[in-house]
Amino acid sequence: MMETDTKNPLQNTGMEGPLAPRQSRLQEFWRLLKRNNLAFVGLIIFVLFFLTALVGLMLTSGTRPVFDPAMVRLQEKLRPPLSRPNVETLRPEEIPRLGLYLFGTDDLGRDVFARMLQGAWVSLTVGFVAVGISVLIGILMGGISGYFGQNQISVDQILAAIVLLFAVGLLLFGAISLGVVSVLIVSAYIVFSLRWKKGLGKRTLPKWMKVFLTGAISIDTLIMRFVDIMLCFPSFFLILTVVALLPASMYNIMIVIGLTSWMGATRFVRAEFLSLREQDFVTAARALGISNWRIIFRHMIPNAVAPVLVSATIGIAMAILTEAGLSFLGFGVPPPHATWGNILSDGKRFIFDAPWLTFVPGFAILVVVLSFNLFGEGLRDILNPKLRERY
């Protein structure tokens, strides 16, 4: 501290130098986080879960895994947690690696501990990839509609888009030649209009052609109406429908959850952008001649990201719950791959005889989702500038 003070040139002139913040942003974030007990616990559980999922992926995959989640031991079915295996009846490679069934076995004698380890990775990736997709779409759509929203889409652009869609439809339904012709027409028009706006813009147009260049609808309206349309669908029902119609795979579930949950992020980013673009630092950046994209990525997104981060954290919790629900209904990751949802779903026939098959995965989902929710709520408080202390 003293060193920086002596280096400060203002110190010599006897004026009081501008006080630099004593803490960096990250340090302050850490300090606020440690004061918020629930959020701190949430973060710790989240880190533990992350490590468990990574270790679990390594230990349960490969041709000769340490914990084999698919090893069937029919003579050892429905053993309670912490019970020791009957070593005499098992072949040496069938004996569980820990020497006991930590979480018991299911109705096929598979080790629930190994299956839980395998399922942790599914929950983790589904949560993060789905939310990653939705946040990316949200930032893109919200950013466009908040920053370029006032621009009008003119009639000729709408017509071009309609013809292009029509062409794609034709290509999909087999009318190749007609489709190619319409794609060519559209691309020719696009090239033509770009050239026109660059070089020949000064030439006056006949009156009937000006109709095509009038603005019909603003970009903001277009995107926000699309958000409204998407919000009309009952989300779990829509996800269920699409997942049921598509072939069963983990990637389809991630993509579908991501594609149906971006509306919140879009609204947040748009609202932030609308208020940020009127602020002085953006005007200053524009006055310096900085390009639009640099303003967006370098100056605006870092300032707009706080509410998105909060909603993303809570979105991960929601995505994990949705995936578990889908697995529970039998639409999840195809068996024999274990997920927490389908362990629970398999165990529901034995809830009175083997309650651990319900309680182990249920508590795991509960704890992980709770940690994400608590961390997200804590994040909301921490990132809220009103609650920050003044230096």
Binding site: R225, I229, C232, F233, F237, T241, A244, F352, I365
Partner: protein, 319 residues
Amino acid sequence: MLSFIGRSIIQKIITLFFVSVVSFLIIHLAPGKPSQVDPLNPKFTPEMVERFRKEFHLDKPLYIQYIYFYRGLFTGKTVSWKDNQSVLKKIWERFLNSLPLFIVGTILTWTLSFPIGIRSAIFRGGLYDRSSTFFSYLLISIPGFFFAYILIIFVVTRFHVPVIGMETFGLGEASWLRMIMDRIWHLLLPSVLGATGGIAILSRYVRSQMLEVEGQDYVRTARAKGLPPEQVHYKHALRNALLPFVTMFGLILPGLIGGSVIIESIFSWPGMGRMAYEAILARDYPIILTVNFVSAVLVLAGTFVSDLLYMVVDPRIRL
């Protein structure tokens, strides 16, 4: 006012049109054909499939199918592909089954979350506030199906009452009192489960609204005048904090049809959610599309009602 109503109705009709197009495209462009649903069934000869396709216009191009479907829906002639019954009639029957769940769940949500939220706002930071905060996060985070099984194990082992289905099978000649008690037992668990998430979210929302209003100047003035705390809390603060909740009455409309797929299938409750789930399994497109359409209508109607209510309740808003 009138121009606002007119504008928003037109806007909502346009939105509804696009919703119908998008849902139709999603369903029909997905891989797989509805006519292939049961290839092992010996009755499904190629001629049968052909007749089936012709009967339901599946051999026509998509936009013709779209027109046929929505014309049938508005004239009430659309039939389920599964059993040839009218879709609207089927949905109405199931809707009547889901209605008691919805009503009990909504009553539970709205009567429990206000006292909880208000109390934790008044005693902010106290033990009650912190524990209710933690419990609401717990209830938001718990997977519905897991909570359902905990409650089933608890109720069945403790009270020895059956909870699956709408009523106990073979209770034909029992007294009416017993019948009613039986119905209530069966209704209780699914509606409590349906309400838990709502209670957790709504009570948090009530709390934050109350806190915001309690920080306002007029509440401080009321306190400075020496009014008793009850009067400050319930007359000055609560009345103003209630404003946003009036609009939420509109937003519960979509819950009418949403029904919970998971809870209804755990409890074998023959409601809307379960019907939708069965329709998805059977690729019964008319039912899927109709449920989707009706719920979109309810969402739009809900936002419309909540906008109107807000205008009526809050004189500061002039749209």
